[in-house]
């Protein structure tokens, strides 16, 4: 449980962190450190240098701007979980945060760190997909915005390029009658999602589903959008029958993973059950 030798640099500004990263290709960015440090202690990761962005001012915030919710990458899970503003205007985010790890992890771990690490059983990716969020990546050449659907590339792999740091998460504010929910089966030992489903439904005045957005984590090599479930619900009144008919598509065209705890077939079953629960819960709140 002792990491291999590494250099440590504490950046005081984002520009400084970006320069350091540009000069040290093999360096890793240290955010909350609750995925990277355990991996280093087990020597599963042996980066020659850590660039700590934990002390950079103004990377941890939750605010409304231009009709969007903007969250700084270094905002901790707990800050999101306890945000009164988010509970009011985007309850999926605090609900998702409340499911992450334990108190210690939520106090130190950050939304940006979690997304950049992109654990296949991480909770945030499901919510980010369901909310159609945008991710702002900074580099020395400026900034670019990446759509949630394009951000998660493969196992532990994101669209962030070398030299890029995730700076901000943006979510459009919801209008009209919407309901959101995140439900999860916790792995009893690690707390990670065996299956986690985030759902956002928008209904019209008659209760007909205008749009559905569903992200599923824990099941495959990366989070994915349950597009077949979404289209099965859209334009319908989401009654029991419609929901049951839709969730059978929860793992359509998905390459499922199995492990010692849960086989691929069991995960397929869980994905359907938890997608049904997420939809029912979102519906009850709409």
């Amino acid at each position: 449980m002792i990491p291999a030798q590494f250099d440590y640099v504490r950046a005081t500004t984002l520009d400084e962190a970006l320069s350091l990263l540009a000069q040290n290709e093999e360096a890793k960015i240290l955010a909350g450190g609750h995925s990277l440090i355990p991996a280093m202690k087990l020597r599963l990761a042996t980066p020659p240098m850590l660039i700590d962005i934990g002390r950079i001012q103004d990377l941890a915030y939750i605010r409304e701007e231009d009709g969007q919710i903007r969250i700084g990458a270094m905002t901790t899970h707990y800050q999101i979980e306890s945000s009164g503003l988010l509970k009011k205007i985007c309850p999926l985010l605090p609900e998702c945060a409340s499911h992450i790890g334990d108190v210690q992890v939520r106090n130190k771990g950050t939304i940006g760190g979690s997304l950049a690490h992109s654990d296949p059983a991480g909770d945030w990716p499901a919510a980010i997909i369901a909310l159609n969020a945008e991710l702002v990546a900074a580099s020395r050449n400026g900034e670019r915005t990446i759509k949630a659907d394009d951000f998660f590339v493969d196992l532990l792999t994101t669209a962030l390029g070398p030299g890029e740091i995730l700076r901000e998460i943006r979510v459009n504010k919801q209008n009209g009658r919407t309901g959101q929910a995140y439900v999860k089966m916790h792995h009893p030992a690690s707390g990670f999602a065996v299956v986690g489903v985030a759902a956002k439904l928008a209904l019209d005045g008659d209760g007909v589903c205008q749009s559905a957005s569903i992200g599923i984590t824990g099941v495959s090599s990366k989070v994915y959008r349950a597009a077949a479930v979404e289209s099965a619900l859209t334009g319908k009144k989401p009654d029991e029958q419609a929901i049951v008919g839709a969730v059978v598509h929860a793992t359509d065209a998905v390459d499922l993973n199995g492990d010692l705890f849960a086989s691929a077939d069991y995960r397929r079953h869980l994905a359907e059950v938890y997608t049904r629960r997420a939809i029912a819960s979102a519906l009850a709140r709409a």
């Binding site: 995925s35 020597r43 599963l44 990761a45 042996t46 196992l155 532990l156 792995h187 993973n257």
Partner: protein, 147 residues
């Protein structure tokens, strides 16, 4: 853990088979392969720096090719160990002609142990699939380049 799948390549079966048993080509295609040196007939010593995302490790091991039936079948036997743990496994490659190209069928059994298996068990299957996808993507480029 079982690994199996199929992959179609747009190259003749002879070319694909030749690529699959050529240590230089293999080393360029295996993700993270630093060297693959011949130690005996159909036996090679491999040095790998493999990883996914932040998780990376070095592995040293042996690769043996058996049961060669040019150009349709061979069996690969691998064992290696490194900082993150050990890997042992074997797999069969079967090549079939299909639509002017080649269909590769692979099926193998792999054992992973050590730290990586203890704490990374839930990701091993996904990592293996990702490695296989990278391998075949690189092999495709090799096979095309040789035509």
């Amino acid at each position: 853990m079982k690994i199996e799948g199929t992959h179609e390549l747009h190259a003749s079966r002879e070319r694909v088979f030749a690529a699959l048993v050529d240590p230089e080509v293999l080393c360029r295609c295996i993700p993270g392969c630093e060297s693959l040196e011949k130690t005996d007939e159909n036996t090679y010593a491999a040095l790998l720096k493999a990883g996914v995302g932040a998780i990376k490790g070095s592995f040293k091991g042996n690769v043996r090719l058996e049961d060669m039936r040019v150009p349709e079948h061979y069996r690969i036997v691998v064992d290696g160990k490194g900082g993150p743990g050990f890997v042992k496994g074997s797999g069969d490659f079967d090549l079939e002609e299909k639509n002017g190209g080649t269909l590769i069928k692979y099926a193998g059994e792999m054992q992973v142990g050590g730290v990586i298996a203890g704490v990374g068990q839930r990701m091993i299957e996904a990592a293996a699939k990702m490695m296989a996808a990278r391998f075949f993507a690189a092999l495709e480029i090799e096979a095309k380049g040789n035509q």
